[in-house]
Amino acid sequence: MFTRKIAGFTLTAILLLNINHSIAQDSIQWVRGVRIGCDLTRFALYEFQPDRKAMEFSFDTEFKRNKFVTAEIGMEQSKNENNRLSYKSSGFYGRVGVDFNILKKDKLEKGRDVVFVGFRYGYYNMTQQTDAYVIPSYYSTDTLRGSYSSKNLYGHWVEVAFGLKVEVLQNLFLGASMRGRVLLFSKKDLNYPYYAPGFGKGANSTNFGVNYSIYYQIPLSKVTAKKVAKRLPPQTI
């Protein structure tokens, strides 16, 4: 827990140190391209929650100034073993949505840091299996043992995201976001999922989540001051 907090603060500090820097390319106003991200918390997850393994990648691009279309995909495995239960699950998930940059950079402003509010639709598909269960009884010879075979489950949810992405090196970003998720619909089983991939604890119909991600933006086109000036009416320059 303590190590996790330190890791979190370190990432936060890196973000804060870089939030107001600007890339020394005065002529470039902003770069259009696809930003590919990888959620670092998913790799750290195994260290702090050994019963979970996950990875997540994200893709986003600015389709209009300050508006981003974004997609996230990932997979997750979980297991739970104690004296009453031996359980495992695995599955994948995807989210699509839009982010709105609340820093509201105008067409002439430089810098590509983003503080965003976003909305997502998410879907997970998973299988879960209870290899063994034990139900102890008051009577010593009355203990029940059994297992449940593999079942396929899925669910749909919506989420609100709030976070930031800061350019720490050219085209390289670090970002953090907090997510609030609400389950819309899920296929039920006798036991709810231990962890629903991408959604979080299967026992809850609402979940909070946190991401710390690293991103690389593949620059596809650069918008320079000259190009902006051409597009804007003369009186606004």
């Binding site: 973000l15 939030i19 010593s140 006798l190 026992a203």
Partner: protein, 161 residues
């Protein structure tokens, strides 16, 4: 101002991420059949029903005579069969058999406790008959104190109780 706001938000992120609530776990024996006793007195057209407590109540699960004797009318049911049979002795009036017939199904508690057996009462009777009637008032066995069935004793016909 923006930096302070982002810093505060980041701290909130961390606390949200680190905050987990552990599951709590109850033993299967918390789900017990709870019996209430009533005495019925009929005088002409007037029928009065009163709660009754007995000087002694002793019960034992017949299939597991090595288990403890129950001295209160709260009896754990067996989850391996649809009927639990107890030998009971009320006020030392001799041993009778109490048959509790029920349906079982499985529910999931949480990932600490695993699964649990649910009991839904179907029929309760004694051999030989020791009371005038037995009524199931709450067929679902729960983990909170709630009477599941009531034994009605007519003070004229079962005066020995």
């Amino acid at each position: 101002m923006r930096i302070i706001l982002i810093y505060c938000i980041s701290i909130v992120f961390l606390f949200v991420a680190c905050n987990t609530i552990p599951d709590t776990c109850k033993e299967q024996s918390a789900w017990q059949l709870r019996i209430g006793f009533k005495k019925v007195k009929i005088a002409g057209n007037l029928k009065t029903v009163k709660d009754s407590t007995f000087r002694s109540f002793i019960a034992q699960y017949i299939s597991h005579p090595d288990t403890n004797v129950f001295k209160t009318p709260s009896l754990p049911l067996a989850q391996g069969s649809d009927t639990s049979i107890f030998s009971i002795d009320i006020n030392k009036n001799g041993i009778q058999k109490l048959y509790v017939v029920y349906k079982r199904d499985r529910t999931f508690e949480n990932y600490t406790c695993g699964f649990r057996t649910n009991f839904t009462l179907d029929t309760i009777y004694t051999i030989p008959k020791i009371c005038d009637s037995i009524i199931i008032v709450q067929p679902n066995i729960t983990d909170v104190y709630q009477e599941n069935c009531r034994f009605y004793f007519n003070s004229d016909t079962t005066a020995q109780y």
